[in-house]
């Protein structure tokens, strides 16, 4: 397994290189530059700005300069946040996104797997329909409708939680964002779990367990849960990477200083280095989480072997 991991990690390097190259080209191809605004600077000022950030060099030079810095761990200065480097911005936003992302994933996993399992056990009964129906609200109602509704009722009307992130510190400001982020995930996970659990529950060894007199709860806990988790795991890999890099909508609504906000700001301001830094971060996380998921297959399903 160690050899397998090593091979996967080495194989990720050319992938990441391609990602950097493509992102670099796309970002520079987008119309508009980082210093465009209605209040245009005069020619001398513009030249000064571009020279300062090496934007007047040919694209190839800029790319290799960037790559060189990258290999030393330097993502470069931010073109928009002139007091900060991209490293500092990422370092500031990453913990927040990580915390919120992991909490909502945990909530989504517990609630989703629980709901899906319950629905599978009581397949085609009223319980099944009610539980799945409720879970579906997460997919059917978009986040930018759910989150403001939650804010309106729970924050503005009832004042149980704050409507914004920066106005307070502590746990209560996390509740609404975490719930908003978790809701769509609960829906997907519940559906996957239900389908997969129904499959597993119909298989031979489960019938044997039932015949031996094991109750539903024990069957699920000791025999059915692990194999049923395989599709959920496949889903969770990229999903965790996605949530950890922040949800643009939720961060905008609550004013959370996470990675999602940086994505939007970087793109709309043509902040080349920030966008590249975020893309690399995201790509790395996807590669990492796919690897973790593949390794977890081995833990969950002992039939899986690594070549």
């Amino acid at each position: 397994m160690a050899l397998y991991t090593l091979r996967r990690l080495l194989g990720a390097v050319p992938t990441l290189f391609l990602v950097v190259l493509l992102a670099f080209l796309l970002v520079h191809a987008a119309p508009g530059g980082p210093f465009d605004a209605e209040k245009m600077p005069s020619e001398e000022i513009r030249r000064n700005l571009e020279a300062f950030y090496h934007l007047d060099e040919p694209l190839v030079c800029q790319f290799f300069r960037y790559l060189g810095n990258l290999l030393q761990g330097d993502f470069g200065p931010s073109y928009r946040y002139r007091d900060y480097t991209v490293n500092e911005l990422l370092a500031g936003a990453l913990p927040v996104s990580l915390l919120l992302g992991s909490l909502s994933m945990l909530l989504a996993a517990i609630a989703g797997i629980g709901a899906g399992t319950l629905a599978a056990l009581k397949q085609n009964t009223l319980t099944d329909r009610v539980v799945m129906g409720l879970s579906m609200t997460g997919i059917s109602i978009p986040i930018f409708v759910i989150a403001p509704l939650l804010v309106l009722f729970l924050a503005v009307k009832l004042n149980w939680f704050p409507a914004g992130w920066s106005g307070s510190s502590g746990v209560s400001r996390m509740v609404l964002p975490v719930v908003s982020l978790a809701l769509p995930q609960i829906a997907y996970i519940a559906r996957l779990t239900r389908a997969s659990m129904i499959d597993v529950l119909a298989s031979g060894f489960i019938q044997t367990a039932r015949a031996q007199g094991l109750g539903s709860w024990s069957i699920v806990r000791y025999h059915a849960l692990k194999p049923a988790m395989l599709p959920v795991l496949s889903y969770l890999g990229p999903a965790v990477a996605g949530i950890l890099t922040g949800s643009v909508v939720v961060e905008a609504i609550f004013g959370i200083p996470g990675l999602g906000k940086l994505f939007v700001i970087g793109a709309s301001n043509r902040d080349y280095t920030l966008v590249l830094g975020l893309v690399i971060l995201y790509a790395t996380m996807i590669v990492l989480f796919n690897l973790i998921v593949d390794l977890l297959y081995g833990v969950v399903d002992p039939r899986v072997r690594y070549r």
Binding site: P31, G32, L49, G164
Partner: protein, 534 residues
């Protein structure tokens, strides 16, 4: 199952501990704390390098220039207690207050201001606002790298006297000197390389920056060394970043913000009913306009067509019904309410809409268009609900009155700017201009031939000449006459379609004391107070 279970348990325990650690007692009990919104993240809190109005909002709280504005928007002495202007208007001599101090206790001296100005113009700083001070002696040469920074026409004669020499008179210089880009600089303090954020660590304003979390908020603390600290009522200021107008409204409603920067258009009427006089609508120094691409057909050299299109738009309906938040229909280029200025109006401002439409149709025919030769043009605007609403209204008006088929194209903001600057595909585009200082010049200079912000590509030698004459005038009344005449010429040429003048709409909590509406919409935290005890 065991290892998985125990792993899960440990994870839960860790998270519980983390969450417990996050809570804490309130260190701000007993202090007066203001929570105010910021609509965009400041890109820098370095006074010479910052560029956006939002950065300036924060910087105005922590720094002070030679001059500043009072709560009503009038110019008052800041760190300079008095000044003298020479006969020819080219030499300004400022006397710095002896009691002015930085937050570390050091006195603020004239050399700090000189350092700030030099740093602004220095090409190594790559400062955007360097162009605001290009009329200072040698400023152009210095910023182009031809002369060393020391040659800039500013001099600290002694600790308390600063002399600024200009190449030509700048009547609005004092307004420029309120801007954060010309705040004093402390070059003796090395920027801490380890500290994230390159912002300065000492301040000469009413507050100091305690913490800046990009994407979230800036926290300011009272600066007890500030010379006017006795008049500062509020101890702690939070500038919360709130980009969504609806979120801002929600946070105001739940009591987390003391005032808002905007009111979302769809909630405006409800807010008016619900909040009464907490809703403040006041004139604002900004114009919303459509510009023509004057370098290509059909608008190049076709005054009749441009004027026809302008007259076919019913600005009163646009401002009152389509926008409906108190916006003022624009029949001139410079907003009314600008200091020492009475803007001339478009010749057809007083006509009824029937009369205007009749003349518009006639001009349209003169330009060579009619039912057999219809005009098809493109109208570009930046993607936004408000812009779209205005564009739809104008498109309908043009179709009803003139039979013009206007195609609406929504583009992302930077893309739109690029298209406009390209001058290839653009025909009519939406833009706006917010005044940098309270003087007609900030609007009129846009239309000078060599101004990079002259988006339509307008060039009129007579206009340029009048502006140059106005710039030479010492007498403010004579200067005003030249400016008004220049505007008259520009309006008659129709390079743009001014549509309405901005108003600022805000909700202000009754807890807030000292709030005054002013045309620049600057609200320094040091002028505000809170009536609730904590």
């Amino acid at each position: 199952m065991r290892p998985l279970q125990s792993a899960l348990c440990s994870a839960l325990v860790c998270i519980a501990l983390l969450l417990a650690a996050c809570g804490g007692e309130d260190p701000e009990a007993g202090l007066s704390v203001l929570h105010r919104p910021l609509s965009t993240d400041p890109e820098s809190l370095d006074p010479q390098r910052a560029r956006t109005t939002q950065a300036a909002d924060v910087l105005r709280d922590v720094g002070e220039g030679l001059v500043r504005y009072d709560a009503k928007g009038a110019l008052v002495p800041g760190t300079a207690e008095s000044w003298e202007v020479s006969e020819d208007g080219l030499v300004y001599t400022f006397t710095i207050r002896p009691q002015a101090r930085w937050s570390d206790g050091q006195p603020v001296t004239a050399s700090h201001f000189a350092d700030g100005l030099r740093r602004l113009v220095d090409p190594a700083t790559a400062a955007f606002y360097a162009q605001a001070v290009l009329d200072i002696e040698n400023a152009r040469a210095v910023s182009g790298g031809e002369l060393p920074v020391a040659e800039l026409g500013v001099e600290a004669v002694d600790a308390g006297t600063l002399v600024i020499r200009l190449e030509r008179p700048v009547p609005y210089l004092l307004s420029l000197l309120t801007h954060p880009s010309v705040f004093p600089a402390r070059l003796d303090i090395p920027k801490d390389e380890d500290q994230a954020g390159d912002a300065w660590t000492v301040f000469n304003g009413a507050y100091t920056i305690d913490r800046w979390q990009p994407g979230s908020m800036v926290r300011l603390l009272r600066n007890p060394e500030y010379w006017d600290d006795a008049d500062t009522a509020i101890d702690v200021v939070y500038h919360h970043l709130v980009t969504e107008e609806q979120s801002e409204l929600n946070r105001y409603r739940s009591g987390e913000l003391h005032f808002t920067n905007n009111v979302p258009p769809e909630s405006f009427d409800a807010a008016r009913k619900e909040y009464g006089d907490q809703l403040r609508v006041s004139e604002y120094l900004g114009v919303y306009y459509y510009g023509f691409n004057l370098t290509r057909p059909p608008f190049a050299d076709n005054l009749a067509l441009r004027q026809a299109l302008s007259m076919a738009i019913d600005r009163d309906v646009l401002a009152e019904t389509i926008m409906g938040r108190g916006e003022i229909p624009a029949y001139s280029w410079v907003p009314s309410g600008t200091n020492n200025y009475e803007p001339p109006r478009l010749s057809y401002a007083e006509l009824s809409s029937e009369e205007r439409n009749a003349i518009a149709k006639r001009l349209f025919a003169e330009a060579g268009y009619g039912p057999d030769n219809t005009l098809a043009i493109e109208l570009r605007y930046n993607t936004s609900a408000t812009q779209r609403r205005v564009a739809l209204a104008v498109q309908a008006m043009w179709r009803d009155v003139l039979g013009v088929e206007a195609t609406l194209i929504a583009e992302e903001f930077q893309v739109l700017l690029d298209s406009i600057r390209d001058r290839r595909d653009t025909q009519v585009f939406r833009s706006s201009w917010i005044g940098d200082y309270n003087d007609a010049n900030t609007f009129l200079e846009l239309m000078l031939t060599d101004n990079p912000a002259n988006l339509p590509g307008y060039s009129n030698a007579e206009f340029d000449a009048l502006m140059a004459r106005a710039a030479e005038q010492q007498d403010l009344d004579r200067r005003r006459l030249y400016l008004e005449e220049a505007e008259r010429i520009m309006l008659a040429d129709h390079p743009t379609l001014p549509l309405y003048f901005y108003v600022s709409e805000r909700l202000v909590s009754p807890e807030v004391r000292g709030w005054e509406d002013n045309v620049l919409d600057y609200h320094y935290s040091q002028h505000l107070g809170l009536s609730a005890a904590e």
